[in-house]
């Protein structure tokens, strides 16, 4: 990839907080006009990476350029070329929607008339025109998120950073956000988004970078990552916990490969190299063993499987593994 086609390039980024090593040498490159999904559980280092690329944090090591500017030596230029929206919907709750966007425009040093015009355009575009004169604290969660996204787009930035853009949103609002992102990218914007939702990365990202414990553990397209875990899988859900071990044994003998057991979901999963034929063999084996099955199915691998395979835990379970939050309080 030629340098001028790269919107975000980071090499060997390291960042250490008091007790944790948040990033341990992360490389990243995002081609112009594409979406890169930074996927990982809470505490993986995603937010730290975004904060470094948006000049909020200085890395302890490594270097990065965003939109052709160095994040350390040309921080001011970087800030003119990026937009940032995050999971905490950073809008001023005590200002109206319109005042929020006009303020951001002024802080990008747009002339007053342009700041006003741009605010009006964005309010219209994000369906906030009717609520433009109301203070943001009266907005619903979805409206706030749209306002936050609008604020990130005031300067029509070539590179947009979205830190967990849909966390905590209802499905409808989430779809709205997804649609906006798709439109932006179609228009040539580069988007780097972090997410812990595999579905989101699968749906939006041209490239997915999986990080865990401050390291890149895999990267590629969703299809490439899925192919890493091989073909189809069989999921067996049992009715009783004590059936998990015999189920695993039955699957092992039917497929000659090692199944994954997830006690929380009373689920055992195994690779099915021959698809339906393997499923038939498994059903027969379970029947012989007299196991009560609540559910059984054959499915294509998901990014969840990729994650499980790469990190040893599921994406959504990671919070329970007792990791420190990535920003020490």
């Amino acid at each position: 990839m030629a340098a001028e086609d790269t919107a975000v390039r980071a090499v060997g980024i390291r960042k250490r907080y008091k007790r944790t090593e948040a990033l341990r040498g992360v490389d990243l490159s995002v081609e112009k006009g594409t979406v890169c999904g930074l996927l990982g559980p809470n505490g993986a280092g995603k937010t730290t990476m975004v904060r470094i690329l948006t000049t909020l944090l200085k890395p302890d090591g490594g270097e990065a350029t965003v939109a052709g500017c160095d994040v350390l030596r040309q921080a001011a230029q970087v800030r003119y070329r990026i937009g940032l929206a995050g999971q905490y919907a950073a809008v001023d709750e005590l200002l109206t929607g319109r005042a929020n966007l006009e303020m951001v425009g002024r802080l990008y040093h747009l002339p007053s008339r342009q700041a006003k015009a741009r605010a009006a355009e964005l309010l219209e575009r994000f369906d906030l025109a009717d609520a433009a004169g109301r203070v943001a604290k009266t907005y619903s969660g979805g409206m706030r998120r749209r306002l936050d996204l609008a604020a990130a787009l005031v300067a029509a930035p070539p590179v947009l950073f979205l830190d967990e853009p849909t966390t905590g949103l209802d499905p409808r609002s989430r779809n709205d956000v997804w649609q906006v992102i798709a439109e932006l990218v179609a228009d040539g914007t580069t988007v780097l988004l972090t997410t812990q939702y595999l579905e989101e990365a699968d749906r939006l990202a041209n490239k997915i970078v999986v990080i865990d414990h401050g390291l890149v553990v895999a990267e590629g397209t969703a299809a490439q990552l899925k192919s890493k875990v091989g073909g189809e899988r069989i999921d067996v859900v049992v009715t009783e916990l004590d059936q998990l071990a015999p189920t695993a044994a039955a699957l092992r003998s039917a497929t000659q490969s090692e199944p994954t057991v997830e006690p929380d979901d009373r689920r055992v999963t195994v690779a099915a190299p021959d698809g339906a034929a393997t499923l038939t063999a498994v059903v027969r084996e379970l029947d012989v063993a007299g196991i009560q099955v609540a559910d059984i199915g054959l499915r294509r691998p998901t990014l969840d499987d990729v994650f499980l395979r790469l990190t040893g835990h599921r994406a959504e379970d990671a919070e329970e593994s007792g990791e420190l939050e990535e920003v020490t309080r």
């Binding site: 200085k58 990026i82 802080l107 040093h109 369906d127 604020a151 029509a156 932006l184």
Partner: protein, 289 residues
């Protein structure tokens, strides 16, 4: 929804300047950005008028409680208690300005607004300058209300117009320095609740272990030493001198109380010179959650 240009090509119609290249441009942006943020903070008053109410009601309550309840049992040699009291209440109120600022900054931190500001190409000082100057305006309103209240209970300025003006200028300077202390507390504590408890357990002793409400003469010697060297005491003594609300002459050995007016200006400038750069430094690396 109308189709508007969200794409980077929309930048061609926006007059986005580059970063400032010389000191003059930098200074101009620091001022305009600071103003933008100050206006934003002042707009908040319209949304939360009770904050202004808080800032004025509690000093008024203090004036009334001390003047009529405690004042009836406190004798101040050489002065009547209400005259003695008002400069103290002025200084206490202004000192509590740091709480308002700290809460505001902590709130911006916890809501992620500081992250947004820091990702914008604005002057690094603007968020804090805007915050402290807007809070200063709020503080001025509080001072005006209290002066009115003081006049109503019989307090007067006896030392002439110019000295009176100097007295108010000193209050403003001290309040501004305290606002900068407030920004540091806000940036460090990050949550409004944490700020609230910290500020109140520290500000009450700091403003009470002083000559604010009673003369220090009868305090235990070690406590009197603390009180006499407390910047709050110098401020209060300076205000008493400038407003002409002086009681018995000071007999202790603490330099700041022997020369209260220069000491109060020095203390305020020193606080400002220490806290403002520290706050900006802290802001540069502040991150929300």
């Amino acid at each position: 929804m109308t189709a508007i240009d969200l794409s980077p090509s929309a930048r061609t119609v926006l007059d986005l300047p580059g970063p400032p290249t010389n000191a003059v441009a930098k200074a101009r942006w620091a001022i305009t950005d600071g103003l933008t943020v100050a206006v934003r903070n002042l707009r908040h008053i319209r949304q939360v008028p009770d904050r202004l109410l808080n800032a004025t009601v509690s000093p008024i309550m203090f004036v009334l409680l001390f003047a009529y309840v405690l004042g009836s049992a406190i004798a101040v040699p050489g002065s009547n208690y209400r005259e003695f009291l008002m400069p103290g209440i002025f200084v206490q109120t202004v000192a509590f300005c740091c709480a308002t600022t700290a809460m505001g900054v902590a709130n911006d931190m916890s809501k992620g607004l500081i992250d947004r500001f820091r990702s914008l190409p604005m002057a690094r000082s603007a968020v804090l300058v805007g915050r402290t100057s807007a809070d200063l305006v709020e503080g001025l309103i509080g001072i005006a209300v209290m002066a009115g209240c003081g006049l109503a209970v019989g307090w007067r300025i006896h030392a002439g117009f110019l000295h009176g003006l100097e007295g108010f200028a000193l209050l403003v300077l001290f309040g501004f320095a305290m606002n900068w202390l407030g920004t540091i507390i806000g940036l460090l504590m990050r949550s409004p609740e944490a700020v609230q408890s910290l500020v109140f357990v520290t500000l009450f002793p700091i403003t009470f272990v002083a000559n604010t409400f009673v003369p220090t003469e009868n305090m235990t010697p070690w406590l009197r030493n603390v009180a006499d060297w407390n910047p709050v005491s110098a401020l209060v003594a300076a205000e008493r001198e400038l407003f002409g609300n002086v009681g018995a002459p000071y007999t202790g050995g603490a330099w700041p109380l022997q020369h209260p007016v220069p000491a109060a200006f020095l203390y305020s400038l020193l606080l400002l010179a220490v806290f403002a750069p520290l706050a900006v430094r802290r802001y540069r690396s502040a991150v929300g959650r």
